[in-house]
């Protein structure tokens, strides 16, 4: 038996291919939109996974360190290390800012880490980990920084010694890792003018600058200029301990807030990126509906354009099943081409998005099923019209 659909497609394959291509681009856009949504959620998850922590210990009554500001004294980690079930604990600071590199500046999240402790980048794609305790940095490759380059962060220049990837903040800003001490300074030490003004303010205050107590004002100024604060303590739990159990002990006895991975994920995804993710999700739905409508219309008009040929088929005695099969096969073929092209272009242009686009295989599979179902449904409409055609139109017109 000859394939009617195949014959028909080959007859005007150029038109068919271009229709498929156009459809593919539309499907590609839809897949990309799904990818953008997934990427957003994944940015949040990557942030949690990359910190390598089982617990986040933050200031009490805050949702820190990502969703709300949190600050802690930097010696708290010593007390945490003494708790049962805590294997490792390390201070960490987060600061979103513009880092200068030559002429341009890049929006980054500066992470202060203790080299070799939780919080440091888990894998590198080039270079090495931080080895000096000052003025070295490991940057996410999406910052565009190169190995050996000098980057200015607040008061100091840092040498980029390593590159990593997929280390981003919840809002997708690439991370730059620098030693903790430098990060504390970058975060809390003001510019020179502010420091000098602050000193003058202390000196002008008669309660602080007392004539009988020389040196008091200077000591006060000095204590204002040093910072012993961090944003969170990352805790790794010893094998065999339950995260919630350890978190409970920290909340109860240390009077600090502690979040487990699940709670942190909840905070990030349900609170921090909730609105923007919902925004994308709604747009994705609309795009999916519009795509479905366009696919249906394309198939419908494609059939309408062939009404005369269908009438001829009917005239020569083709069965309804044969005609319906032809239209269905053409529609599914179009869907298949569209999906292949769509998936391909979505993957090809994904890296050019400034933020991460995650094309999940599951989404692709669901997209494929959806495209096929939509094509099949759209073809039923077309089939109904085709079957109602009067064979007489083939000769009458």
């Amino acid at each position: 038996m000859i394939s009617l659909a195949g014959r028909d497609i080959l007859h005007s394959w150029g038109k068919y291919a271009f229709t498929g291509l156009g459809l593919g681009l539309l499907i590609g856009v839809t897949l990309s939109m799904a990818g953008i949504y997934r990427g957003m959620v994944d940015d949040g998850k990557a942030l949690l996974a990359n910190s390598g922590a089982d617990l986040w210990v933050v200031q009490r009554d805050t949702l820190g360190p990502y969703a709300e500001p949190s600050s802690l004294r930097d010696d708290i980690y010593r007390g945490l290390l003494g708790l049962p079930g805590v294997a490792r604990a390390a201070n960490v600071t987060y600061l979103t800012m513009q880092a200068r590199q030559g002429e341009r500046d890049v929006r980054v999240m500066v992470v202060g880490i203790q080299p070799g402790e939780p919080g440091e980048p888990r894998y590198l794609i080039a270079g090495r980990q931080i080895e000096r305790t000052h003025y070295e940095a490991v940057a996410d490759a999406s910052t565009g920084f190169q190995l050996g380059e000098r980057v200015r962060i607040r008061r100091h220049d840092y040498t980029v010694v390593g590159l990593t990837r997929r280390m981003v903040s919840a809002s997708g800003d690439p991370m730059v890792f620098i030693p903790l001490r430098d990060a504390q300074e970058a975060q809390f030490l003001k510019d020179n003018d502010a420091i000098i003004n602050e000193r003058a303010r202390v000196l002008a205050n008669p309660a602080l600058n007392r004539p009988g107590v020389p040196g008091l004002a200077e000591t006060l100024s000095r204590s204002q200029e040093t910072s012993r604060m961090v944003n969170a303590v990352l805790v790794q739990i010893a094998p065999g301990w339950d995260g919630e159990q350890v978190a409970d002990a920290i909340r109860r006895w240390k009077r600090l807030q502690a979040y487990t991975v699940a709670q942190m994920e909840e905070i990030l995804i349900a609170k921090l990126i909730a609105t923007s993710a919902r925004q994308i999700a709604v747009f994705l739905m609309i795009l999916a509906v519009v795509s479905a409508a366009i696919v249906s219309f394309i198939i419908y008009t494609m059939t309408l354009g062939k009404l005369r040929e269908i009438a001829v088929l009917k005239l020569i005695g083709a069965r309804n099943r044969t005609i319906a099969g032809m239209i269905l096969q053409e529609a599914l073929g179009l869907g298949l081409i569209g999906f292949l092209v769509g998936k391909t272009v979505a993957t090809l242009w994904a890296p050019y998005f400034p933020k991460y686009v995650l094309l999940e295989p599951g989404d692709a599979a669901r997209g494929f099923v959806a495209v096929m179902v939509i094509c099949a449904l759209a073809s039923t409409l077309a089939i109904r019209t085709a079957l109602r055609v009067d064979p007489a139109t083939a000769i009458g017109g």
């Binding site: 294997a87 270079g127 980990q129 490759a141 590159l163 090809l348």
Partner: protein, 395 residues
């Protein structure tokens, strides 16, 4: 319905392109794709471990010059940057009534001198009286024995002699008191003079003025500094080194000093001292590093990066530090197996150098292929594909 050959070929090319592109993408991304990695093998080389710290330029010997009692500054004779000699008068405190008190003391001393002269004269008079009264008494005693004078007259002369002796003793005591009074006043005058000298602030050493903390007319309390001096040849660096990375720090080790004002220039130095008392708050050890030759124009408080070189470890097995991973509480590396899979190998590491080489403490065969960089976090059994380089850049 035969198609022209050209169109048929075109169609074929198009189909192959779409399918090929899709196939390529499925293989390169998604769950089927292998993780791209770079690998390295352990190598043996001399490891030059080093410690890195931040230091500030300080003077080993700095002097704060100020009064020992509260007072008002009368004059300050030098300014910041002036070179002063040892013992040079650099500032003076207002003596207020001290000069008057010295004058009073001087007058009292003179009076005491006069009193002493008077007492001495009295002694001489008493001596003279005694010299007259004693022979008289002896003579009357002889005359009484021979019966020429009455007993009463002899007794009177005897009394005169006794009185003259007592008067001499009194006069001598008076003279002693006057002498002591004069000594007391002399000492007092000396004290006032010393007090006066104490108000003159003198440099204890030859040095340079680094701060002028008080101006004439301002009041300072005891111990507050008016001027601060330092010995310009005694500049060194107070270096803070993270405790966690300070093993092996000791006096005598060579160091490279990079001043913030002169980036790229390295000055040789040496660890002069390691302080026993570290900083428990910042978790740092403190060491003093001295320049081998003091560069010109070094300013106090200037920031410097100091690299202290530890003794080299010859022929050590090393791996790049980016290969070191933590997995379930174990330190180790990912190995690339013959089947192109990743396998975790627990491994202990020792000393690291500042360029990212870490000494292996456990043995790893030299032909082992260790994963150094990867495009994502590895899991046991991940398919990996070694490549030359994962990202651009020099290195």
């Amino acid at each position: 319905m035969k198609m022209p050959r050209l169109r048929r070929i075109l169609l074929l090319v198009l189909v192959i392109a779409v399918l090929g592109g899709f196939g390529y993408i499925v293989a390169r991304t998604g769950p089927l794709a292998a993780v791209r990695v770079t690998v390295a093998s352990p190598e043996r080389r001399d490891l030059q471990p080093a410690l890195f710290g931040i230091g500030t330029v300080e003077a080993r010997r700095a002097y704060a010059i100020g009064p020992t009692s509260a007072g008002r500054v009368k004059q300050v004779r030098v300014d910041v940057g002036d070179v002063v000699a040892a013992g040079e008068l650099v500032a003076e405190m207002d003596p207020v009534d001290l000069n008057d008190r010295i004058a009073a003391a001087r007058a009292a001393l003179e009076r005491a001198g006069n009193a002493l002269t008077a007492a001495e004269a009295q002694v001489r008079e008493a001596v003279s009286r005694q010299e007259l009264a004693e022979p008289n008494a002896r003579r009357f005693s002889d005359l009484r024995r021979q019966g020429f004078v009455t007993q009463e007259a002899a007794d009177a002369k005897h009394h005169e002699a006794n009185a003259a002796r007592s008067a001499l003793a009194a006069a001598q005591a008076n003279r002693e008191a006057a002498r002591q009074e004069r000594a007391r006043l002399l000492a007092e005058q000396g004290a006032a003079g010393k007090l006066r000298a104490n108000l003159q602030l003198r440099s204890p050493v030859a040095g340079v003025v680094i701060a002028r903390d008080a101006e004439p007319g301002s009041t300072v309390v005891a111990g507050q500094s008016v001027l601060r001096l330092m010995d310009p040849t005694s500049l060194w660096l107070k270096v803070r080194i993270d405790q966690g990375r300070s093993a092996g720090l000791q006096a005598g080790l060579p160091a490279d000093i990079e001043l913030r004002s002169r980036p790229g220039e390295r000055f040789p130095g040496r660890v002069a001292r390691v302080e026993l008392a570290g900083d428990s708050v910042t978790e740092e050890k403190i060491a003093q590093v001295a320049f081998d030759a003091l560069p010109d124009g070094v300013a106090l408080g200037e920031l410097a990066e100091v690299t202290v070189r530890l003794p080299a470890i010859p022929n050590a097995p090393v791996l790049p530090n980016s290969a070191i991973q933590q997995r379930q509480g174990q330190t180790g590396v990912w190995l690339l197996t013959g089947e192109g899979k990743a396998r975790f190998q627990p491994l202990r590491f020792g000393i690291r150098d500042l360029d990212g080489a870490a000494q292996m403490l456990d043995n790893l065969p030299p032909e082992a292929r260790v994963i150094v960089h990867s495009t994502r976090e590895l899991r046991e059994g991940d398919a990996v594909k070694p490549s030359e380089k994962l990202a651009g850049g020099r290195g």
